[in-house]
Amino acid sequence: MNRRDFLQVAGLSTGAFLLADRAVFGRSVAPEALLEPGVDVAVKKRLADAALNAAKSKGASYTDVRIGRYLRQFVITREDKVQNIVNTESYGVGVRVIVDGCWGFAAVVDAKNEDQTAKAAEEAVAIAKANARLLKQPVQLAPQKGFGEVSWKAPIRKNAFEVPIKEKVDLLLTVNDAALKNGANYVNSVLFMVNEQKYFASSDGSYIDQDIHRMWPTFTVTAIDPKTGKFETRSELSAPMGMGYDYLQVNPSDKITGITTRYNKGYDMLEDVTAAAKHAKQKLTAKSVEAGKYDLVLDPSHLWLTIHESVGHPLELDRVLGYEANFAGTSFATLDKWKSKNFNYGSKQVNLFADKTQVGSLGAVGWDDEGVACKQWDLVKDGTLVNYQAIRDQVHIIGENESQGCCYADSWSSVQFQRMANVSLAAGKTPLSVEQMIKDVKKGIYIIGDGSFSIDQQRYNFQFGGQLFYEIKDGQIAGMLKDVAYQSNTQEFWNSCVQICDDRDYRLGGSFFDGKGQPMQVSAVSHGSSTTRFNGVNVINTARKI
């Protein structure tokens, strides 16, 4: 599941909204409750210690305790109407143990006293003991030093929950009005805001208190031509960010001007929706693409999703090993390819790295959900596959003795497991602007924004659409195209990468709702890149008659 699927699942695309019924979001609360302090950190330590001690006394060789308070607010509108305002809170404690070499997990909702957390720990031990009977290989947990009592706070300038709901509603209704005045027939807009207050304690001696914020302003405008019966849409060019409401407070330096304005660490929703309405109308009469090979110039607002699907997922070690075989799938990037040290993932220009540290990214935290300090590491170096994403019980398989710190659970009630870190394409080392890149393209398409996406279960063959497509002829933008999708194969695609703009153009895109696991858990992850050129990619025409 990805972000547009989530909108589909949530019924946003048709106006109904079922989000608050999803158990994962917890109970609905008054907006003021989102600003109330949670359980005091000293109390959390007592709750955690009770669980750690109980598990140890029952025979656990390792224990971690996650005390989580998850706050969410969604403001949802269409045209001149507020459709819904959702405020939810979910609080509870999850305890994970190793007993006799086997994992066990139990969780308790609304735990406020030590008896409750100790009981959860005992249940986790009982489950581990039951599972141990079927165990073939005991867990090998990479050692991890304890960090003592530490904390991390997302460097936000404005907590979104401090902004009155009226101000948010006014913003969205102004945005909708601008869309309708500029040619859109319909507009849906949403503000998603999340605050995760997470406390982690482990038998390694860590007590980690973290405060994480995320924000995603989003919309879709629709333009209709009743004469032809055709309609076209254009969605936001914002990115979901690990930021507060400050993402909507834009500085001129946050804007990337060009054929249309794109955004970096600040997003002008009103400006973008105004452009979007005009784009949707323009798409109605745009030229339908002629299928064939094109050089693609891909904006970071588009390329993030291709990176996510063709690099982020296949380099998750649990997929490589087969743990996701029945759902998300396995991976073409098998261990033998990594061991060969010469698997050519992409061209020499291609450097892809994983990290949980980029400021403003969705994945940024101080420590992951098993108490490992976050860091940055290479996945593809000068085109060659060099590493995977792995957590404490996996890193021994790739010969490392320290986890990469990319373990995550979407709730106190979910078991943490390996999740994608921010995976990004390093900016080009030689100075290069988007204009200079386009100037050299003879027959190409410039794609902005993410659209339709699909990739096979081993991450070879993919197809991507977009929001905006511009034909490039002899170094000039020749006009808007529609009905564009490109198909390629991961290795072939990254080997067709010939140029990457420099770091002045580096921006983040991302997914608020990346899905994995059974039962499925969601995770938020960013992907950075600068505008990048890929030569000779197969483009299909998606127009049909029914």
Binding site: T14, G15, A16, F17, L18, A20, D21, R27, S28, V29, A30, K81, V82, Q83, V109, I127, A130, L134, L135, K136, V169, N185, Y186, T222, I224, P226, G229, K230, F231, T233, G322, Y323, E324, A325, N326, F327, G329, V415, S452, F453, S454, I455, D456, Q457, Q458, R459, Y460, N461, Q463, D483, A485, Q487, N489, Q518, P519, N538, I540, T542, R544, I546
Partner: protein
């Protein structure tokens, strides 16, 4: 604790409604016990069980709607929740599309609850996993699977006298088996309300046979092929179309059912005349919910919806017979507010999958599709890939496994290119026949196994 009887649920809901000071109030109570077991690499990886009982209150003043939820059930907590919903409603912006709540309704009993499923315990789940893993281990195949069972109920009530109660059980099982060298993969899935119909061993054997038969797949040129879609493959694509029958979208001009020049294509012949699709909550194979809005109806329209689900014809002999309506949109257009269906039944013939294969000179057998995503909502064009068992059929026989394809196809075009429909079976919560379709568009090849 999580599963209340009809009387217990009614008593609790009446008590909550008794606290109401709002113009209108509705309450939804959902209780579930959910268990699961997951395995991969022939080992159980996780298993668990959770109980959940939650109550949602919606209060309405005029056209202002507010909701609150709770999972504590003492009198004080219940009253506090009612007050919070009322307070939220008073502060809410007016919803111009609010439609007053329904009065008492008549609901059918659907028989979706099976005691056998409600009784599933951790030992049962472990045995189900063992029955799937063991035959794979013995044949040097690797199994990854997941079973999730659920027993619960949904109860709805409002202060205009509406009350509904629906107990449901369900079990979903899926398994992927792969050859040790990774060159073959097979899949099977089953879903039932009554777990006594489920054999994880039987389903796993189907997946094992596919894995063993799909090694060393050959590459065929992409292009237009006659395909035989197994019910699992067909249900995914047809299901996406069935989720796109909203009348408002069509009338607003942004649906595949929008008509050039305005209006909709209701009543037009859209598909091959053999296509008939209906929904029926009383169907014994796929019993549905007797009412809409077991929670979700609280939003958008405001308040528990509670419309009775009844047998509804969506497509008859290729003609679009109905679209679904919100109550607001139906009232505005002065038409019956036909609710969207939970599942659907697509009529077919009497032929088995094997019969369809036997009657095929050249075609591709598709076990399942993967990563299906919308490409163009205008034409309902979707893309996705075949997965876990794709075979060439020649002269009525399966010849050899072929490499997976990416497709770009619309279910609307597909249902105009029908060669034959087999006997409907349950797959993914719907009843759907295996189907033979000509000129199905495969646009590229994938190396994925």
């Amino acid at each position: 604790m999580a599963i209340l009887t009809k009387d217990e649920a009614k008593k609790l809901l009446d008590k909550v409604l008794g606290y109401s000071k709002a113009d209108e109030m509705s309450v939804t109570l959902n209780g579930n016990r959910t268990g699961n077991i997951r395995y991969a690499r022939n080992n159980v990886s996780t298993s668990g069980e959770t109980d959940n009982l939650s109550l949602a209150v919606t209060a309405v003043f005029g056209k202002k709607v507010g909701s609150a939820t709770i999972n504590e059930f003492d009198d004080q907590s219940l009253e506090k929740t009612v007050r919070r919903a009322e307070e939220t409603a008073r502060l809410a912006p007016e919803n111009p599309e609010y439609v007053p709540m329904l009065g008492p309704q008549k609901y059918i009993e659907t028989g979706a609850y099976a005691e056998s499923t409600a009784k599933i315990n951790p030992e049962f789940r472990a045995q189900a996993a063992f029955d799937s893993i063991d035959p794979c281990s013995k044949k040097n195949l690797t199994a990854a699977g997941y079973m999730e069972d659920r027993a619960g109920f949904s109860a709805i009530a409002n202060n205009k006298g509406l009350f509904g109660y629906n107990p449901v059980t369900s079990v979903d099982f899926s398994v992927t088996t792969r050859t040790a060298d990774g060159t073959g993969s097979g899949y099977a899935s089953r879903d039932f309300n009554d777990v006594s119909k489920l054999s994880t061993k039987e389903a796993t054997e189907v997946a094992m046979n596919k894995a063993l038969a799909s090694t060393n797949a050959k590459a065929l040129e992409p292009g237009k092929y006659t395909v035989i879609l197994e019910p699992t493959a067909a249900s995914d694509l047809i299901g996406l179309m069935m989720n796109s029958l909203d009348a408002r979208n069509a009338e607003e001009g942004r649906s595949f059912l929008s008509r050039k020049g305005g209006g909709t294509r209701l009543g037009e012949k859209f598909f091959d005349e053999r296509i008939t699709i209906y929904s029926d909550p009383a169907n014994v194979e796929i019993p549905g919910s007797p009412f809409t809005g077991g929670g979700g109806g609280r939003f958008g329209g405001g308040g528990v919806d509670g419309r009775p689900q009844e047998k509804t014809l969506w497509v008859e002999n290729g003609i679009i017979k109905n679209m679904s309506y919100s109550r607001y949109w139906a009232q505005k257009n002065n038409v019956k507010a036909v609710p969207p269906s939970g599942g659907f039944i697509m009529q077919g013939g009497n032929q088995s999958l094997l019969d369809l294969i036997k009657s095929t000179q050249k075609g591709i057998l598709v076990t399942r599709f993967w990563y299906i995503r919308a490409v163009d909502p205008q034409t309902l064009l979707y893309t996705g890939l075949t997965r876990d068992g794709t075979f060439l059929i020649e002269n009525g026989q399966i010849k050899y496994p072929v490499k997976n394809f990416r497709f770009n196809e619309s279910p609307v075009i597909m249902l105009n290119n029908v060669e034959a429909l087999g006997k409907p079976v349950r797959a993914g919560g719907v009843l759907i026949p295996p189907m033979k379709i000509r000129d199905f568009t495969f646009s590229s090849l994938s190396d994925a196994v």
